[in-house]
Every structure is written in structure tokens, then in C-alpha cells.
């Protein structure tokens, strides 16, 4: 018993000792945990608070509202309209299959479209929005609204989208918008910054050139989200800014007339203010409806546009390199005058053809014009005369004058990525580009705008405008820019040596249009108010063989692709010039019969609307 009790005492001593050891151990561990808590919650609190916010707050960007395009008078050329859309959030729908088949019936979706919607549904999370239809007609939209009681979870939504009310009238100028692709995002900072799925960005034309101004900025919604990305509550809404609205120098009436004149033809018309360089109209034909692209063009429509032999996708005004034909003659004449090669009394005898080093150079008039002076040569577009003066002048001097007047250079600089430079050849160019010496014969055909020389319709328009304004340099522009400081220094610098020379050329062009025997005499307007001066051009597409020359076929007898391009340049009113234009009809045959009559109609309208345009300018000053 004593033994056992002493053992008990020992046992108790042992257990109590160990209890104390354990107790102090517990104390230290407890202190350790408390200090860990203190470290995390007090010392590192800021770090973890940030991490926690990063976890729970997510931003949603909404598509920005795009800036509009207005014409000179404030008509909306490219605007925004309210598109009727249909959204479904799959998880809010009780019976998704039923609803989606019901929608298929109501919207009359094709099997292909229906499959597309189902595929999209599988790609998104159940609480994300499924866009069943992005641009419903009003009829279908109201039909859906009438059946809403039956369509749980279906949301009719009005969203803002691009519209081009004038359809094909401005396609080449303004361009169109469509869904942004990876290239767009990569190459444009503004798109990258404002990108949201489904964002529409400019693909061509001014829509693309002014993307950064037009795009605006996103509305930003901040939501609290859970671990799976579901939105729980909205924390903040930050309103974005609408993109800048751009006012163009274009007159919609003139533009629409140009479009109508070019109907069913391939070609281009552009009209320019000869003092300000403001583009009044600029149309390339055929055109197409840009609205087709906004919600993604259908394969059928796309093939139709792409495979059209008249090439609607090409902006012929800027991208079309054409031989200028006789429209170059005013510049050849001016260059010859400026360089002192000829004077107004200089005459050449035209017999219908000229022999030179074994080559025969034909005038368009087989019988020849007889003795012609400069004025008559321009008036009747005598080729022999221009062979002769070009030969005397030399191609290098000719090209120097042509370049001064804006040929061989991009008219709008880098504004349109697609614009072509054309080609004004000289001896150096040929040596560098082709590695061959310049031939005299080539100078002669350059004198009538054939051979290597190529110009775009907009360049011809600028050239005409600069002749019309008395020979002063102007910079064409399309967007009305309030900022006058960015104007280049050499604006309005004279491009001539002697103002008389310009007057001689102007007078010759006047003769060409308004005097008997003039090539565009039939298209003249006698009313002084509308009277204009111009120069026709007929550019050969292929070399005419002797055999064909003998046949002397009428235009309609030649296959379309081999017909000549018809050109016309003009300015008016002659007494007090204000506008210049250039017209090009691909394979239109003869400049005087196809292109010149269009100028008559255009000048009527342009000059009629001049007062209105002027009053817009005055109004601007009055407002200031």
C-alpha cells in the first residue's frame, strides 16, 4: 500500500511536470499563431486588401458611341441608329430548348443561322448574354414583344449601331464599319484601348482614316463578381464620351448627282473648290451599300460584290491609274509656254500623221487639221501639234511642270492608305525603273497622255483646279477643319513663271468647250452664269493596230474591255471660276460624247448650289 502510494506520488509528479511543460509549449505556439495573425491582418493588410479587391471587382466596357459624318450642310452621311436586338441569358430561361425553338419559328431563322446561335450558346457561360439576333426589323421586333409572355428570359434590347442613310452614295469616300479583327486591334492604339467584343471599327475610307477621332470612349461598368465570374452587383458606372462628329466638305446633292450619272458605268467623278481645295463630290462607280457590312456581310452578297467585273471594291478616284489622254494637253501646252518653246503664234501643219524615225504617229483625225496654232490645237485636240511641241520640249521639262501641278503625287498624302501616286515619267525614272534609255518617240506619246504616264482622277481634278485658280497651289481636303494653323506654308504659292501663260491655257480650254469645232462644243452652256471650260480626253487601253485603224470601228462595235476610257476635265463658271471637276468613264469610248455631257449637268447643279454653300460659310462667321 505504501509502495503503491509512493508510486502514485511519483506518477503524479511526473504527470504534473509534463503538464507544465506542455502548458508552456502551448503558450508559445499560441503566441506564434497570434503573431502570424497580426502579421497577415495588420502588417500586410493593405497588400491582401488589394488582392481581395482584385479578386472581386471586375470592369466591363461597353461599346463606345461612334462619331458621325455630316456633309457640308449638316446632313447625316454616316450616323447611328437604334438597332433592335434580341438577347437571351441562358440560365434565366427555364426551358431553353422550348424558348429557342419558339424564337426560331418567330424570327423565321434558317437552319444555318439557328445552328450558329446554338454554337454561340455553347461557347459562353450560362449567365452571359447570348445575342440571338443583332439587327431585327421592326415587324419582327414587335412580333417578339407580343409573344414575350411566352418567352421567359428573352430580352428585347435597343442598341446603337452604324447606319449609312445614303447607301451607296458615299461608300468609297466614307467607307464602312464592321467587326474589329485582330489586325485592327493590333495596329490601332485607340481600338486596342476601347476594344469590347463586337466593337465595330472603320475598315476603309474616312471611317478608317479618322478611327481615333470617331471611336469615342467606352462606358465602364464596375461589378462585384464571384469566384466564377458571375456579376453580383454594380459598383460604379462611368459614362464614356461619344466620338467626334466630322463635318465633310461634300455636298450631298452633288454627290448624289455624280452617283446617278455614273449609274451602270465604271468610273469616277470628283468636284473641287479651286480656291479652298474643298472636295464637293467624289464618287467612284460602281458602288455598293455599306450597310451590308455593318452586321457582317452574307457570303452571297460578298461574292456578288467581289466578282463584279466593274470592280466595285476599287475606289477609282484614288486608286485608278489611268492614261490621262488628251486631258494632259493643257499641262503640255503650259510647259511649252513656260519653257519658251512656243508662243501663241507657233503653228504646226497636221496631215493626220507624222513620220518619225520610221514610226508613224497618228492624229485622231485621219484627214488632219491643217495648220493649227496652240489655241486651235487645244480646241480640236490635235495630236500632231502636241507630238511636235512635246518633242521640242523634252520629257524632263514636261514632267517637271506636271509634278508642280500635283501629278505623280498622292493628293491626300497618307489620309487614305489606298491612294495611288500615278506616274509621271522622265528619263531618269526610265533608267532607274526599266534600265533603258528614254526614246524620243516616248516623249511624243507622253505629249498626248499615252505611254508610261498615268494619273488618278483626283490628280486630274487638282491639276484642273490649279489651272483654273490662276496657277496657285492648293491642298485638297474633305474634312472641314476649324484648325487653320496646320495649313502648309506653300499654300497659294504661284506654280507659274508668267500668269499670261495660264490665261492662254484657260482660254484654249474655253475654246474647246464653247466654240464651234471644239471637242466638247455640244456639251457647252451658253448662259454666262454656268459657262464652263474643259478639255476632253480619250485614253487608249491598247495599242491600235493599222488594221483596226483602217476599220475605224464605232465604240459599240469594240468589246467592252478594249474600248477607250473617256475623260473630261473642266472648270467653271468661266467668267469667275470657282469649281473644277474631273470625270472618268472606264471603257466609255470617247471623252466628248460620254464624259463631257455629264459635266454640263454637274455644273448646272454645282453653280446653282454655290450661293447656298457660300451662305453656310457666312453663317459660320456670323456665329463666331
Amino acid at each position: 500500500m505504501i509502495n503503491s502510494s509512493s508510486d502514485n506520488v511519483k506518477k503524479l509528479n511526473s504527470i504534473n511536470r509534463r503538464m507544465f511543460i506542455t502548458g508552456s509549449l502551448k503558450f508559445f505556439i499560441m503566441v506564434g499563431i497570434i503573431s502570424r495573425l497580426f502579421f497577415l491582418q495588420v502588417k500586410e493588410n493593405k497588400k491582401y486588401l488589394t488582392l481581395s479587391d482584385k479578386n472581386r471587382i471586375r470592369e466591363w466596357k461597353l461599346a463606345p458611341v461612334r462619331g458621325e459624318f455630316h456633309d457640308y450642310f449638316g446632313n447625316v452621311i454616316a450616323g447611328n441608329f437604334e438597332a433592335y436586338q434580341l438577347h437571351v441569358i441562358p440560365e434565366q430561361v427555364e426551358d431553353f430548348r422550348y424558348v429557342i425553338y419558339r424564337l426560331k419559328d418567330l424570327l423565321e431563322l434558317s437552319d444555318k443561322e439557328f445552328k450558329k446561335v446554338l454554337k454561340k450558346k455553347n461557347e459562353i457561360k450560362p449567365w452571359e448574354t447570348l445575342i440571338v439576333s443583332d439587327n431585327l426589323s421592326w415587324q419582327k421586333f414587335s412580333k417578339i414583344n407580343n409573344h414575350l409572355y411566352d418567352l421567359n428570359g428573352v430580352k428585347p434590347v435597343i442598341s446603337i449601331s452604324r447606319s449609312y442613310p445614303y447607301k451607296e452614295n458615299f461608300t468609297h469616300l466614307v467607307g464602312y464599319v464592321s467587326q474589329a479583327n485582330e489586325n485592327d486591334i493590333e495596329n490601332t492604339e485607340a481600338i486596342k484601348k476601347n476594344f469590347v467584343p463586337g466593337l465595330k471599327v472603320g475598315k476603309v475610307g474616312l471611317e478608317k482614316s479618322f478611327e481615333e477621332k470617331l471611336i469615342g470612349s467606352n462606358d465602364i461598368e464596375r461589378y462585384e463578381v464571384n469566384a466564377y465570374g458571375r456579376r453580383i452587383s454594380q459598383l460604379e458606372f462611368q459614362k464614356g464620351e461619344k466620338g467626334k462628329t466630322l463635318r465633310l466638305t461634300i455636298d450631298t446633292e452633288v454627290q448624289m448627282l455624280a452617283n446617278k450619272l455614273l449609274e451602270d458605268k465604271a468610273g469616277s467623278i470628283c468636284v473641287m473648290d479651286i480656291y479652298t481645295g474643298a472636295i464637293v463630290a467624289m464618287q467612284s462607280s460602281p458602288s455598293f451599300d455599306p450597310n451590308l457590312f455593318v452586321f457582317g456581310i452574307s457570303q452571297d452578297d460578298w461574292q456578288l460584290i467581289r466578282n463584279d467585273p466593274m470592280k466595285p471594291l476599287v475606289n477609282k478616284t484614288l486608286q485608278g491609274n489611268y492614261s490621262p489622254g488628251s486631258t494632259i494637253k493643257p499641262i503640255v501646252a503650259l510647259s511649252a509656254l513656260e519653257n519658251g518653246i512656243i508662243n501663241t503664234n507657233f503653228t504646226v501643219k497636221c496631215t493626220g500623221k507624222t513620220e518619225m524615225y520610221g514610226q508613224t504617229y497618228h492624229c485622231w483625225k485621219k484627214k488632219g487639221h491643217g495648220f493649227v496654232s496652240l489655241r486651235n490645237a487645244m480646241k480640236q485636240s490635235c495630236d500632231t501639234y502636241f507630238y511636235e511641241i512635246a518633242r521640242k520640249l523634252g520629257v524632263d521639262k514636261l514632267s517637271a511642270t506636271a509634278k508642280k501641278f500635283g501629278l505623280g503625287e498622292k493628293v491626300f498624302g497618307e489620309l487614305f492608305g489606298i491612294e495611288k501616286k500615278g506616274l509621271i515619267p522622265n528619263t531618269e525614272w526610265k533608267k532607274n525603273a526599266l534600265g533603258k534609255g528614254w526614246l524620243l518617240g516616248e516623249t511624243m506619246i507622253t505629249g498626248i497622255g499615252q505611254g508610261y504616264i498615268q494619273t488618278t482622277p483626283i490628280q486630274l481634278c487638282l491639276m484642273t483646279a490649279q489651272i483654273a485658280n490662276g496657277g496657285y497651289k492648293i491642298y485638297p481636303h474633305i474634312v472641314v477643319d476649324g484648325d487653320k494653323k496646320n495649313q502648309p506654308d506653300d499654300k497659294f504659292t504661284p506654280l507659274f513663271e508668267n500668269p499670261k501663260h495660264i490665261e492662254i491655257v484657260q482660254d484654249a480650254m474655253f475654246g474647246s468647250t464653247n466654240e464651234v469645232m471644239g471637242t466638247s462644243y455640244r456639251s457647252r452652256i451658253d448662259d454666262l452664269k454656268y459657262q464652263f471650260a474643259g478639255k476632253t480626253g480619250t485614253a487608249q487601253v491598247k495599242k491600235i493596230t493599222e488594221q483596226e485603224r483602217e476599220l475605224d470601228l464605232k465604240t459599240f462595235e469594240i468589246p467592252y474591255e478594249q474600248r477607250d476610257h473617256a475623260l473630261y476635265i473642266a472648270f467653271g463658271p468661266y467668267r469667275n471660276p470657282r469649281y473644277a471637276l474631273s470625270i472618268l468613264i472606264e471603257h466609255g469610248g470617247n471623252g466628248s460624247t460620254t464624259a463631257a455631257p455629264m459635266a454640263k449637268k454637274l455644273f448646272k447643279l454645282i453653280i446653282d448650289r454655290h450661293k447656298l454653300r457660300q451662305s453656310m460659310d457666312n453663317k459660320k462667321y456670323l456665329e463666331v
Binding site: 502551448k26 499563431i33 495588420v42 491582401y48 486588401l49 464571384n226
Partner: protein, 375 residues
């Protein structure tokens, strides 16, 4: 040295027992129960949903059970020491044969009203069994080979049965409970030191035998940022939750990490994270103090108990509970790798609460019957 107060069983009636209650312990347990209920309510997103209701029911049932257990004389607990151990071994075998499999391990027995996890019960009843085993043993016999081997078998048998489930975490906690008893029973401290050294040396080999997911847990613990969305996700989110709680916390029902479902297993193993996010350092420290008081009371009851059995049970149970709490907290605070171990009372889970409440019941019984000597 010891007062031998004589009293008759008849005079030791219900009311005296009631008077003998450890009210501080009881209040702390009830307080803890209340806190756990509030936290559970928060995990349900501020609504009384399944977890809250179920937790509430279990809390009521098991608290009543604990009170009933308090009135059972400590000598009867002594009596059932071995039997209960063997019964639970039987249950573990049953689990092994017919248990319910969930998320890859077979841990539960379906009892229709509750899915019982016998391994949780073993954490407590192994203490009861070993306490009985050492109760009568003379100190010099404690360190005999026979005793040590027997007690090792008692510990290793359930461990093995739990490891095959597989559930490494719980089997380690069973080992902790057993080793705590061995420590208090007076096994030479050299053995503990040798075992520790042996364990450290063999650690690389043990790791080689670990299952891939267990290895991943260890690696993740060492570097959670390596795979923040995969294996490291739990620990990173848990640390963010605790850390963002700050000094005063985000406020009740305002813990964004849990409310927005960034926290994994917030009902069970990570419940402290949620509590800590909403109540901050102040709340967490308060919770720790409540736990500290509970452990202190358990140890104090052991110290004031007359019987060696009660003493050894209370000390071991106190140590085990402490280890459970510490391991759970270290885990959620990124101090230990993730091992599945619930926070006593706070975590959702019937078996764990049943075991813990049984333990409290026995401790309370030791307090009520602290003058009871066991022959």
C-alpha cells in the same frame, strides 16, 4: 497531501452534481457554439439555409448529449474505455468494407440520420482507451517494452485503418491523441526524442511513399504561388481572406472572399478564414482566447481530479484539442500544408462535433465527479 472526503452516493444527488459543473467551461462552449452558428449563417450567405439549420440541430443535440454525459460517473467512462475503443475499431473495419465513398476516400458510415465518420470519434476514444491502459500501471512498468509495444499497437491499428481510407490527416491526428497520452503517462522523454529524430531522418522516404496529391500539397505549401489557380488556390485565397480582414474585419456578412465564393471549403476546414475575414484580428484573437480558456479549464479540471485516469484523460484531451486547433489554424494561415482537419466545434461536420462534445462531456464528468476515485 490529499483530502479524502467521504460521501455517500445517495447524498451526491442531481443538484449537487449540477452545482459542481464547470460553468466557465460550459459558458465558453456555448459561446463557441453561438459564434460557430453565426459564422455558419454567414457561410450560407446571410440566410438560414441547410448548413445553418443542420449545424444548429447538431449543436443542440450534442450539447444536450454533453450535459447528459457530464452526469455519468467518471468510473463508468473508465469502465467502457476498452470496449468503446474496440467498437470504433469495428466501425472502422465496417467503414473499410461498406463505407460511403466521397471525393475519393471511403470515410463514412451511413446511419441514415447522420453520416458517421468513425475516424473522428477515434481521435477521442483512443485517449479514453490509453488512459485506462495507463491508469493502474506502475511508473516503472510504463517504460517496459511490453507496455510500449502494446500502446503502439493501440495507436497504429486505427491509424492503419484510417490511412487506407485514405485520410492521412485524420490518422496523424489520431496519432497525436495517442502520443499525448503516452507523454502524460510518463514514457521516457528519450523515446520521444528518438522517434522525432527517426521521423526526421525517414521523412524523405515517407514523402516518396506519399500519394501524388499529398506530395502536391506539401509542394504547394512550400510555394503556393507556383500554381495559383490550381493546387495553390486554396491557400492563396485563404491568406487573402484573412489578410484583407484587417484589424476590425470587414463586418458580419460582409466577407467578400467567402460571400463571393473565392474561399474553398468554407463550411468545414476553412471556417476560421471566413470568421477572420469578417471579424478581423480582434475577433480572431477573441476566438483564440475562448479556445485558450477552454483548454485551460480542461487542464485545470484534470489537475483537480482525484483519479489518475481523469487526470490523464483531461491533460491528453486538452493537448489533443490544442493540436487540432493549432493545426487547423496553421493550415489556413499558410504555416502548414493543407491537411484535412476541422476546427473543433466551429467547423461543420457531425462526427467531429460528436467526438469533441463527447470529450467535453467526459471532462465535465471528471469535474462533476472529481472526488471519485477509481479502484
Amino acid at each position: 497531501m490529499y483530502q479524502h472526503r467521504r460521501f455517500t452516493t445517495s447524498s451526491f444527488n442531481f443538484f449537487q452534481k449540477f452545482k459542481n459543473f464547470d460553468y466557465i467551461l460550459l459558458v465558453c462552449i456555448l459561446l463557441l457554439g453561438f459564434i460557430s452558428l453565426a459564422t455558419m449563417y454567414s457561410t450560407d450567405g446571410g440566410k438560414i439555409l441547410f448548413h445553418t439549420k443542420s449545424h444548429f440541430t447538431k449543436l443542440i443535440v450534442f450539447t444536450v448529449m454533453m450535459l447528459i454525459f457530464s452526469f455519468i460517473n467518471i468510473k463508468y467512462w473508465f469502465l467502457i474505455g476498452y470496449v468503446s475503443y474496440l467498437m470504433i475499431i469495428g466501425l472502422l473495419v465496417w467503414t473499410y468494407l461498406f463505407g460511403i465513398t466521397s471525393s475519393g476516400s471511403q470515410r463514412w458510415i451511413n446511419l441514415y440520420f447522420i453520416n458517421l465518420q468513425p475516424s473522428e470519434l477515434m481521435k477521442i476514444f483512443i485517449i479514453l482507451c490509453l488512459a485506462k491502459y495507463f491508469h493502474r500501471m506502475r511508473l516503472e512498468n510504463v517504460n517496459s517494452i511490453y507496455t510500449i509495444l502494446t500502446s503502439l499497437v493501440i495507436i497504429l491499428l486505427p491509424m492503419g485503418l484510417v490511412i487506407v481510407q485514405p485520410d492521412l490527416g485524420t490518422s496523424l491526428l489520431i496519432a497525436v491523441s495517442g502520443i499525448a497520452v503516452l507523454w502524460f503517462a510518463g514514457i521516457n522523454h528519450k523515446y520521444f526524442i528518438y522517434t522525432m529524430l527517426g521521423f526526421l531522418i525517414s521523412l524523405p522516404f515517407i514523402i516518396a511513399f506519399l500519394k501524388p496529391y499529398q506530395k502536391l500539397r506539401v509542394l504547394t505549401f512550400l510555394n503556393p504561388d507556383k500554381d495559383p489557380l490550381g493546387a495553390g488556390y486554396q491557400i492563396i485565397q485563404s491568406k487573402i481572406a484573412v489578410g484583407s480582414g484587417g484589424f476590425f474585419g470587414k463586418g458580419f456578412l460582409k466577407g467578400t472572399q467567402s460571400y463571393l465564393e473565392f474561399l474553398p471549403e468554407k463550411h468545414t476546414d476553412f471556417i476560421f478564414t471566413l470568421f477572420s475575414e469578417e471579424f478581423g484580428f480582434v475577433g480572431s484573437a477573441l476566438l483564440l482566447i475562448i479556445y485558450a480558456i477552454i483548454i485551460y479549464r480542461i487542464v485545470a479540471i484534470g489537475a483537480s481530479s482525484r483519479s489518475y485516469f481523469a487526470k490523464i484523460f483531461c491533460y491528453s484531451f486538452g493537448a489533443a484539442i490544442f493540436v487540432f486547433i493549432t493545426i487547423n489554424m496553421s493550415m489556413v494561415l499558410g504555416l502548414l500544408p493543407i491537411v484535412g482537419s476541422p476546427l473543433p466545434i466551429m467547423s461543420y461536420g457531425g462526427s467531429s462535433m460528436l467526438a469533441t462534445m463527447t470529450g467535453f462531456g467526459i471532462v465535465m464528468s471528471a469535474k462533476v465527479h472529481n472526488q471519485q476515485s477509481i479502484a
